[in-house]
């Protein structure tokens, strides 16, 4: 195991019936770094995040976080261990306000018992206050403080993405898996998001795994990039190297027509 590998995936294989979605993928993410995964549609990026967060079972390989093997753990255990994620197809709690969504993210931080909540003990009040404060912080961080009381389902698409990010942050991630966080954000908002991710890395010391198709964002903030295609790693390296890799250009980036 590499000494700086916070998250380490070795030979991860995932199968859906006949489809081999991931084929012995090796992937690792360092502490305090943004590691991006890019690749064509259907390459297996989301599947890799799913495998890491425990949503799909592994057909082979192993996943460990700071040396602790998580391959067999259910998703909530992984989340408690620090593997927190957002979703490509938004999964927000539409029946709650934005604030409650994020407070739900604090679930594992406020640890009063059921009895405390039934009897409304001081521990309950302290816990709720803490959760609320933490949630407000996270909302403020992503710039949603003004929508705290809005029902989450009524938020426009782009803001729902930010809400998911806030909720993930509230869960105190050790490693944060972001699945296309910039989809649905315009270019300016994407840049703001880039700034946020950077702050998450630098200020909170969280490792970030970023799956994204917005190349400006990816190239701008990644420390390391892994390129997947057809369930296999086809390139790995710093942004500048990957950008120039002919195989990557052929499979994914296409002929560059940017200014």
């Amino acid at each position: 195991m590499p000494p700086d590998g916070l998250l380490d995936c070795r030979g991860v294989t995932v199968r859906f019936g006949g489809v081999l979605a991931l084929d012995e993928v090796d992937f690792s993410a360092r502490d305090r770094a943004v590691t991006s995964i890019i690749g064509p549609n259907g390459a297996g990026k989301t599947t890799l995040l799913n495998a890491i967060s425990g949503v799909v079972p592994l057909a082979g390989g192993g996943i460990s976080l700071s040396g602790r093997d998580l391959s067999q753990s259910p998703p909530h255990i992984r989340a408690r261990a620090g593997v927190v994620r957002t979703f490509q197809n938004l999964e927000i709690f539409t029946n709650m306000s934005a604030l409650e969504n994020v407070m739900t993210g604090c679930h594992c931080q406020v640890r009063y018992s059921v009895l405390d909540s039934l009897l409304k003990t001081p521990r309950y009040f302290a816990g709720e206050r803490k959760a609320r404060a933490k949630a407000m912080d996270c909302l403020e961080f992503v710039g949603l403080a003004d929508s705290a009381q809005t029902p989450a389902g009524d938020l426009p698409f782009g803001r729902q993405r930010l809400l998911e990010l806030a909720r993930a942050l509230a869960a105190r991630p050790g490693i944060l898996l972001l699945d296309e966080p910039a989809a649905g954000l315009n270019m300016k908002e994407t840049r703001v998001l880039g700034g946020l991710i950077r702050r998450i890395r630098d200020e909170q010391g969280v490792a970030v795994v970023l799956v994204e198709h917005d190349m400006d964002l990816v190239m701008g903030i990644s420390d390391q990039i892994t390129v997947l295609a057809f369930g296999q790693v086809i390139a790995k390296g710093a942004p500048l190297e990957v950008q120039k890799d002919p195989e990557v250009i052929a499979a994914y980036l296409g002929a560059d027509d940017r200014d």
Binding site: G42, A183, M187, L253
Partner: protein
């Protein structure tokens, strides 16, 4: 082709679209850009009949459609690629595409539908590979391709696209924009395009509208908008440092 006159739309008490007027002429590609929650999706839904505007008029080929049911509007030659893709998850990819041609199904049209299917497959080869798979298990980008392909299967005269590039790889995004231009050039397709990626959108568009908090604040030829300082600041993020 499409004309909106003084449209007002509410969600309960939220005034989402405020006195918006716009028009899209036949054979035009018009881009609609704006920040989060500006009301772009709402506006498209109003055109395709999914949402009833509280006030105002919507004309399609000169006929008022503001009170018409969405299926009728779609059958009259308008296709809408909705936000969030909305593919029919348990149905197979091919069934999804065939349903796209639902409005024009008949024994006579059979051949043509088959040809169109082949064309969509040619445009998105992945879909062909996955033709028997449940749409719900496709990757995000594959679903997006499916949604676009489904809309094209209707052979629309006018196409409303709500963030078509969302979740697509850069090469595919470019491919789609190219294809749209090709369809316009060859068949005179009219397109109303909502995009977050304002730059690419304005590049392919003839004209553009800028929507902010439910109001149109700016409109004009696409290249002018692209050069506009306000637009650059607000949507292209020129002033935000990475």
């Amino acid at each position: 082709m499409i004309t909106l006159k003084n449209i007002d739309i509410f969600y309960g008490r939220i005034h989402a679209v405020k006195r918006v007027s716009l028009h899209v002429d036949p054979g035009e590609i018009v881009a609609l850009i704006g920040g989060n929650g500006a009301g772009k999706t709402t506006l498209l839904c109003a055109i395709s009949g999914l949402i009833r505007p509280a006030r105002g008029e919507i004309l399609h080929k000169g006929e008022s459609i503001a009170r018409r049911s969405p299926d009728k509007i779609v059958r009259s030659g308008l296709s809408h690629v909705p936000e969030g893709r909305l593919v029919f998850k348990p149905l197979s990819v091919e069934d999804n595409l065939l349903l796209g041609a639902y409005g024009r199904f008949s024994l006579k049209a059979r051949r043509q539908i088959k040809n169109d299917l082949a064309e969509v497959y040619a445009m998105f080869p992945v879909l062909k590979q996955r033709r028997g798979q449940c749409a719900g298990t496709l990757s995000g980008g594959e679903q997006q391709m499916l949604a676009i392909g489904r809309a094209l299967m209707a052979r629309p005269g006018i196409l409303l696209l709500d963030e078509p590039s969302m979740g697509l790889a850069p090469n595919i995004t470019r491919e789609i924009f190219r294809h749209i231009v090709m369809l316009r050039d060859r068949f005179g397709l009219t397109v109303l395009l909502v995009e977050q990626n304002a730059k690419s959108a304005l590049r392919v568009a003839d004209r553009g509208y800028v929507l902010e908090t439910g109001r149109i604040i700016l409109q004009g030829p696409a290249d002018e908008l692209l050069a506009n300082k306000d637009v650059q600041r607000a949507y292209l993020g020129r002033d935000v440092d990475l």
